[in-house]
Symmetry: C2
Amino acid sequence: MTAATGRSTGEPRAGGGDALLTDLYQLTMLQVYHARWMTEEAVFDLFVRRLPESRNLLLACGLEHALDYLEGLRFERSDLDYLERVGLFEDDFLSWLEDFRFTGDVYAVPEGTPVFANEPLLEIVAPLPEAQLVESYVMSQVHFATVAASKALRVVTAARGRRVVDFGMRRMHGRDAALKAARAFHIAGVDATSNVLAGKLYDLPVAGTMAHSFIQAHDSEPAAFRDFAATYPETVLLVDTYDTLDGVRNVVRLAEVLGPEFRVRGIRLDSGDLDELAKASRQILDEAGLDRVEIFASGSLDEHEVERLVESGAPITGFGVGTRMGVSSDAPSLDMAYKLTEYAGRGRLKLAPGKRILPGKKQVFRSERDGRAVGDAIALVDEDLPGRPLLRKVMERGRRLAAASPSLRELRAHARSELDGLPPGLFALRPAEPPYPVSISTRLEAYAREVAAEATAQETA
Amino acid sequence: MTAATGRSTGEPRAGGGDALLTDLYQLTMLQVYHARWMTEEAVFDLFVRRLPESRNLLLACGLEHALDYLEGLRFERSDLDYLERVGLFEDDFLSWLEDFRFTGDVYAVPEGTPVFANEPLLEIVAPLPEAQLVESYVMSQVHFATVAASKALRVVTAARGRRVVDFGMRRMHGRDAALKAARAFHIAGVDATSNVLAGKLYDLPVAGTMAHSFIQAHDSEPAAFRDFAATYPETVLLVDTYDTLDGVRNVVRLAEVLGPEFRVRGIRLDSGDLDELAKASRQILDEAGLDRVEIFASGSLDEHEVERLVESGAPITGFGVGTRMGVSSDAPSLDMAYKLTEYAGRGRLKLAPGKRILPGKKQVFRSERDGRAVGDAIALVDEDLPGRPLLRKVMERGRRLAAASPSLRELRAHARSELDGLPPGLFALRPAEPPYPVSISTRLEAYAREVAAEATAQETA
């Protein structure tokens, strides 16, 4: 195991090669912006319209990869050749794309900051074509990492200090998801991952010992345990391949055979009634004097099952949580939007029902009383309201600011500290009553009404 | 737009650099296999234990990327250096990993083949360490692509011949998911994708015109429509930024202004009651003589909403389907397993409850009557049962067989043809009654009992 000490290194930068990882309509719009000289300053907000029913808060995540992309963004020759073949773009526009760079400013809440509905996680201020093009990729990274961190936080909360290990790689949605989720999980408080490449790229603690196939490939379970413990004396043995409690008895027998050389650290249960089996296993181990052998559990776990096991007093000290955390099975997506809120110095919104946009550049103020957050206010950027502003400038003219490159360890600590300051009721797995209060400032409300009146006129102007 | 004509090219091959994209326990097991010379032939099956409640069938997908990985698999210097730092591996083992290659055989059903519970999608026959290591990555690719194709098939079915376009890139789980899903969607019958890089890499038709921000950035909606149509005369205009029916009237006005030069192909509705709005929009367009302007719909669509719109007679000719298809929101994962079924010539299974493994090398036979599939039988590989065998050899000694490289166009046609041969009842969005019949051959059942008896003995042997 290695500690999480540093900022990610070694991973291929996004951007170069990924300029086409966007929706076609961004490029068709860009060609018109280019043709019409619509290159004045635009402001886009990235926010979540409504939280999933089962979420009392979200943990913002994914900023690092969005900034990597913005810094590296450029079109390669083969991208331009492809766009030419698509048949929708003129030479003049394609030449312009050749020198296209992101030169804007980015404001964002640090990764690991709890956020709520309508609060910008990120605000991009850039010439319209730049701020437009980057929508799809920036959202893709921040959306998924926020989905993953927010789900993992629930599992970590339910485990109440017991160890949580990410086992989800194999059923997550592909390579990028498996890597980015492992990193997001770490920020949310997960202790280790089984994903070796994530361990390498992000310097995360890695964990794992054996699968059922290892037991099956041996002539007997005792032989498999013996072989494994010979190479890894302080290991965790998987006991449920044939019969869980017989498996535990085979561990006890191994201890008898090895005597003082027995240093097995734990057993893992992966099927059946984990509560009942953990209690019965504990008893067998204790009766054999193996009270320092710990019990780990895995197998279709989620936050509800972890909570049930913890509340029933199952003697389990760690959980391996896979698919349900990895795909955030109860809420695999968020109602996240990236919306134009200002262009050429004028506030913008749309009037489509249920899809409110708050116009203008904004700030979020979090008010605290006795060290505990009591409510947020979404305001215009030049307001000075009580509370701590959450959005900070992290990129200026396309360059990341030094202060915006915290280490993963710092992000995890930041998340912990921010979470410790929230009302405890938000950490229940069920919807919190009352929900965390988020208000919109009087000035922002007034500005929104003003811009809406203009927009109504724009329908037919 | 480009047609889907060829096999994917231009995409960086997986494998090199991705050897560590695996679970740590694969590597700890490998070190013991290496130390104990456990390198005899192993057979692993990749299959789905139970279908999600809402799925009557799955569309197998992702094989191509699994084979890319197997062909390219090797450990780089930096991988081995990292493993050394992890502290669990000896020099002797790390040297052996340096020359590690996948040298095994792979049997699989072609992508686009409908499969059911317990049927192997893929069978790997290789020396134990090789077949073991590749589990995590191979499953990750086949699992997600199968999730995506199976979900898309439902949307395509519900659309009954109307156009379906993938709009999901931004809220899918990262880069790899967005690319692989677009490809899987194409195999399942989706017509186009908004994802430009997927279009480039897989030669898929791409689609998309404008977002709300384009309208908002203009001084008025009519000005925005005028600007866009000047660059793209045969376009689709988004009409719901301010008020949907006013937006449609603005399209009518544009037609009046442009006269014979008006060639707008369609409008897109993205919010509100799509059924009602489509009918009202149709009436406005028809009254203005614009009966050839089509109506497209998008906005939180899934197969149920598409079915509702089609059944209510909404005059919609195409659907843009995003997040819910992109993350397969009702079933974002499958109960997929990769299990050792034979080692060193002996059948293997496990006895954990609810996690049955069928031992041995297998074949699946699909029986047809009057050109219509009537049931499958899972059998031992050397059985000769009625019906068409589904599993084919696609890789031999680590090299892909030429016959196993169909073009995407061929895979899409294969899927269509296989699906046309299934009982129509399977295509209902609700659980089919009766479900498609899958039996286990008498010989395989007998063999499973025999191996189970041996396994019981293995508990304590």
